[in-house]
Homo-oligomer: 139 residues x 3
């Protein structure tokens, strides 16, 4: 069988500085449009203060994630990165905790997910246009 | 050369709520059974309170990981997620720290590992059946 | 189109125990040498106290990352792992936070990166030879 590939860029501009957006249906559409039945799907943030991750679509839990990230990687005026004029060092750290990318199996033309898996885009320094890359390879 | 693919689901039911299981030999077998010589192998938890990660098979270190996770992402009655009746918010956070998936190179028909790399399944809300997906693509 | 693959091992020996090395150009070269135009590129540490991750080439931020890791996963004499004679349990934890691997899309023969994405090798128990694997598959 021949190898196929498809590349798609999703654009987001969050309303708040920190926000999680469920992008499962966009990723599903990219896989469907690719025509690929068996392979893998890479979904990654193209910006270094943003994440793509998989977890649960539950509003309370999403707020728990945000509060927890603020404890693990707090805002602080003392970061050396801020001497460059930036104010978003904590966003770099938060994105590191949540991850840059996910790799998802494609089986029978669909994302091969467990019962609760949902794909999220997370921005920790948002309110501007950012991109997520979806690359599907397989056959 | 033609692209090949193989998909396998591993099932686990941990004895304790939190447990690490070394799954290296199961992943090696899935690669061997696939007949794929060059490519990549995705191994991911299909549940959002479980992890797949790579580290060292050393009992002390595995206990260090568990203690550390309890500090970084502690059990707490105050999580908003618990208002839904759940009690496992910390398990979602712990799994995030440890990661959902690993992607391993397959070279010469084998997992292309460094000297100490071992694949683990980690469950943080276990004692029930959960699945791990192994997807191998290549040729 | 036919599937191609390429495998390359990069070697590093850091000057300090903890160090970040920008390896973007080495990874770019591996992709160029592979002749692969569309696919994915896996870059992973082959050692369990080292990381490969993507972030920003900014010296202050890199020092912020190191200080932050020392808070999240501190050096401590009390780790059980140290009863084996090792002294690097914190390095295992730090590598877990930063991640073992990245998967990068290859589009038009190049790493398909956003504006600030750079690939780093991070060693948390360095000053000895360690390897990073680069595997490119695609066509």
């Amino acid at each position: 069988m021949k190898m196929k590939h498809a590349t798609k860029y999703l654009e987001f501009c969050t309303k708040s500085r920190r926000e999680f957006i469920n992008i499962t249906s966009e990723v599903e559409k990219a896989v469907r449009d690719s025509g690929i039945k068996e392979g893998i799907c890479l979904v990654n943030a193209m910006h270094i203060t943003s994440s793509v991750f998989i977890n649960d679509e539950e509003p309370g839990l999403k707020r728990d994630f945000m509060s927890w990230l603020d404890k693990v990687a707090p805002e602080d005026s003392g970061y050396l990165h801020h001497q460059t004029g930036e104010d978003n060092a904590d966003a770099h750290l938060k994105r590191t905790v949540m991850g840059r990318e996910v790799v998802i199996a494609v089986t029978g033309g669909k994302l091969d997910f467990g019962p609760w898996e949902q794909v999220f885009y997370g921005d920790f320094d948002g309110q501007r246009r950012k991109r997520v890359l979806v690359k599907v390879i397989g056959e």
